[in-house]
Symmetry: D2
Amino acid sequence: MSLNTFGHLFRVTTWGESHGPALGATVDGCPPGVPLGAEMIQHWLDRRKPGQSKYTTQRREADAVEILSGVYQGVTTGTPIQLMIRNTDQRSKDYGDIADKFRPGHADITYWQKYGIRDPRGGGRSSARETAARVAAGGVARQAIKALVPGCDVRGYMVQMGPHAIDRARFDAGEIARNPFWVPDAQAAADWATYLDGLRKSGSSVGAIVEVVARGLPAGLGAPVYGKLDTDLAAAMMSINAVKGVEIGEGMAAAMLRGEDNADEIAMGPDGPVYGSNHAGGILGGISTGQDVVVRFAVKPTSSILKPRKTITRAGEATEIVTRGRHDPCVGIRAVPVGEAMMACVILDHLLLDRAQTGGRRGRIG
Amino acid sequence: MSLNTFGHLFRVTTWGESHGPALGATVDGCPPGVPLGAEMIQHWLDRRKPGQSKYTTQRREADAVEILSGVYQGVTTGTPIQLMIRNTDQRSKDYGDIADKFRPGHADITYWQKYGIRDPRGGGRSSARETAARVAAGGVARQAIKALVPGCDVRGYMVQMGPHAIDRARFDAGEIARNPFWVPDAQAAADWATYLDGLRKSGSSVGAIVEVVARGLPAGLGAPVYGKLDTDLAAAMMSINAVKGVEIGEGMAAAMLRGEDNADEIAMGPDGPVYGSNHAGGILGGISTGQDVVVRFAVKPTSSILKPRKTITRAGEATEIVTRGRHDPCVGIRAVPVGEAMMACVILDHLLLDRAQTGGRRGRIG
Amino acid sequence: MSLNTFGHLFRVTTWGESHGPALGATVDGCPPGVPLGAEMIQHWLDRRKPGQSKYTTQRREADAVEILSGVYQGVTTGTPIQLMIRNTDQRSKDYGDIADKFRPGHADITYWQKYGIRDPRGGGRSSARETAARVAAGGVARQAIKALVPGCDVRGYMVQMGPHAIDRARFDAGEIARNPFWVPDAQAAADWATYLDGLRKSGSSVGAIVEVVARGLPAGLGAPVYGKLDTDLAAAMMSINAVKGVEIGEGMAAAMLRGEDNADEIAMGPDGPVYGSNHAGGILGGISTGQDVVVRFAVKPTSSILKPRKTITRAGEATEIVTRGRHDPCVGIRAVPVGEAMMACVILDHLLLDRAQTGGRRGRIG
Amino acid sequence: MSLNTFGHLFRVTTWGESHGPALGATVDGCPPGVPLGAEMIQHWLDRRKPGQSKYTTQRREADAVEILSGVYQGVTTGTPIQLMIRNTDQRSKDYGDIADKFRPGHADITYWQKYGIRDPRGGGRSSARETAARVAAGGVARQAIKALVPGCDVRGYMVQMGPHAIDRARFDAGEIARNPFWVPDAQAAADWATYLDGLRKSGSSVGAIVEVVARGLPAGLGAPVYGKLDTDLAAAMMSINAVKGVEIGEGMAAAMLRGEDNADEIAMGPDGPVYGSNHAGGILGGISTGQDVVVRFAVKPTSSILKPRKTITRAGEATEIVTRGRHDPCVGIRAVPVGEAMMACVILDHLLLDRAQTGGRRGRIG
């Protein structure tokens, strides 16, 4: 079942390999009449693009998106939108060694075991390049959300790199776009630059935690049991390469709380219920409360490092491998726009699902 | 959609409310010829059953499952299996107060806002009683897994209650069934009993972390992108009531690791690849490695507590609420068999998906 | 997947065997706030119920439906609706012979080949009793359609029995409920009674054609390519037991028409476009025009007849079989309410799908 | 619900408009290790290509397919296969008139009503050009079927054009490729040429019936209720542009048969059951019998004709329209390779579904 597809009604199928001629996303179910042009998608792709700072892979890709279908005279027609990105900088020679050796921490060995064949060039289908297609699809979702819920905003940023967490007391949203880490804390940005420089030079890599927040959502998105908003968010984030954990609101730390410290108290505001806190991350019983929806995910350190690691060949022989080539010392950086894109896709999907079942009617309070 | 359904090929649709006549699971896609009787499912339901110790709700439910279809002469026929559990101890009077007041931390308010109607008795559809249906479905999945992969075993246990984590050095699987907390650490079991007694008497509640491990799985289960094994596990666990975080392998802690500390080295064993460690939690690139698949999830503290909390009524008036009734001080305890059930369902689903696409063939190593 | 489920957003999963304890339908995705009581569903079930005339099987089933979930205080809550019908008249002894012999024209042999096990009693899962669950689900769909599109009406009737077609010049909708054949032609009703009496006494059976019409639908339901309204109607009708052909509008006869005779001319009426004819059956490009949606399907003759037929046993030995028991000489009669139910389910599903994608907005004409 | 997608496990999403830059199919779920090259797909596309005889549209399209992903070193990798066909001969000026007038019998009016926007050039998404993408996907399916069930063969042909049916006594499969109508009857080919010449010159068009047969399938494909093989075939064929009726085996004519004339008798052959006839069209209870699977569908006459037809403009004004441009006088001709492609996709899908649930095991006879 559409194992390369995500979404229920707003459905995104990504395709393509790292070193094939192109990759892209087939986007089905977008509402008609949404303003859409390649430049609106390109804006988001440029944020994920490699080679923008010394902290990300030096692969040179324009990541220029073409819209091949589903848009007419600048608006969506309601038919499938095909988004294609040509690969232009595929230096296959860089990857000769790994066709035969399995890189520890990579999907090389499992793809081989499952399929009995794989495109080893740049990781093939398991490459992080696949996430470019997600970001493109997220650009479509953002345009549609803007048309349906004008005030809604989706924003991601890094909150931790290796052992270094941000100081929430210094949180400054304006800072996010000003540094190469998408971090909302100027001091952290400076510290991380030094830290990552050292790591990069040593040929190592490190993990990170990304937080994505959606503001301005209506209450009522989601559904019981398997159609929970948080269920779909968890799946969306965990489906991103290298993600190993997903949290909503308090996340794993909820385990340490008492009931009276965790349950957000409710009061009546001028426009409906307001909450005294947001431990829930904006979701109760799988359905949005109208507060900020807050998701965090952990990205493991890139496994492509210059330190030698023990592994085996396809013939089963013991060997060592050093992964040269152009890799991100902290792949979590480029995961920020990817996480945003996934959030946008999930939210649009639930806006459509909700409209389908309830027609947008709401139980009245007050 | 099918927002009350989980699974791709092994599909479980749960139905029913806490205080309706019955609840259950419609299970479609089970392979034919699998030995199945009500008692095999009952075994697992009994582990989740309320009222078994002073640490879980005192509601008295037999949770007796009836198989209404899909089984003939003791084996599955390949047609839908209907599992029904009658509700027998529905004291609706306990819940009179909450029909009008929204309980903080509960789905009361979001269900009301979304649907404009809800069954307030015992939480209705959002009650943790829904998880009984999951456990029943998991019992079917376990039987089918046993038929397909005889050595595979799924086991869950608690690893943290509030601030108290187990000591992994004392890990003793044999201990799990010997205490009311499903905790693999005898010392922790003793400590937690004291701790939870105090909490219960004070009318409070606390969160927990549950770990579920699947052993004996073949390499090759899962698929790229949105059909990743970890994607489906994340969704499965996050869909359980009160879960706020999900981790695979190192989970959130992966953020703090360096590449050389995280990537599991590979060697050749007598039966195929063996790994020097399992930071990955048994999954690389969304596909199983053949190691233990390790998932953890955090359960928030029960929001039904005896401490008064500020809230509003349906009319929008400020008020306070104290949730009396029969509640679990640590709902994480009963989440253990639920997490196991979800793991079993996901694994069976991926066994079937893999068989569909690859026919079970594997790329050879060595 | 979900091979026992139909629908995209309004999803119906039927379960149960002819001679098991019960059968039913799990209905997910119904809008909240729809008035629903068992008696509203029973009304439609009673039309399909066996034993109502000498022309249908003499099996005695109350076909009494119970609503086990999803309804509170007389309205739907938006959660899954479980509809259960107990089997009460399972005379298994009638079917002893067929456990070993494969009945020609029946699913006995294919179920056996596919699953290696089957419940032979009354055909098990392949019994026409399964359609009771569809009719029950259709009753829910009708209530929801009434809430969403008050003027919409779904009605089915027979237009042919064996070689005897109705005379459309005598079409009288009022006649449909007055005869045991649901035929809108009083003369045909009289003729068919004589014809079917003869057939029944001779131990034979005959096929039929059923027409189902939905009136009062808005233009704009459906979608391109695989989400066409006619695609889903074709699937819905073909999924009914014994159906071998499905037609929309002119159907197979469209092959014999010229372009100028087939394309319905368009004029402007007071409330929008009006058409000079309805060769299209109310659907153009997979999307409803606002005219009557007209579907026909052919039901093959019951294969359970008193004439001896050559077959084989499970051991592969040649034999003969005579199917005694309680069978319909023209199973097409009871297919009328089933076809209506499937039409109602498809229409509701497309109302929800359309609302999801377009929000109900329409391109303006005039 | 993936309204531009078909298939359960072998999933094809088509995209693109008649006059956009390109169209194509995103194919997910193909087994790995299947030999595949563009030329294998091109072979089937060339059969559907326009402009090959005076009986089809004179639009000049190379219909050259590019494989953008999912294939490595000549075999499929199990990841999504993107098939792209560039549009090269888009003479938009031909279609200026129809941007404002709705063509009777076309999807112009319903697309407009549903979406409030449409690409009018060449019918946009509703153009028969969309079927090129299906044929391309069908080419992939054929390769995979060949790998899984070597003897299986799918072949389509015309059996009726307007009032002229073939004479089955003259059936000659070798004739199919020898005439521009894919008709297995040399005499009919000659007669139809004369007939269609006259029609074409008069500016009219005519309908047709296409039959598609799959030979060499195993028994056991399909599933009860909504996963029936015939349900999916009905949906697949009805989803093709201009199709108004679908039949399996006897089809609509089954209505006229008696039980003893319709039920195919069973005997034991050297390799399993053999049948005395094939009224069932190779499917019983939704599951294949191992006989030929026989599907027929009716294609309505092209609505683009030179005869003036009454219609309205978008402003609601009455007018007349004559559809000039490059159209097929009998679009049924080019529907032959499309029907074959849909059959191939459905069969592969059910081979995978069956392998998932049963592992290919079969109940033994004899």
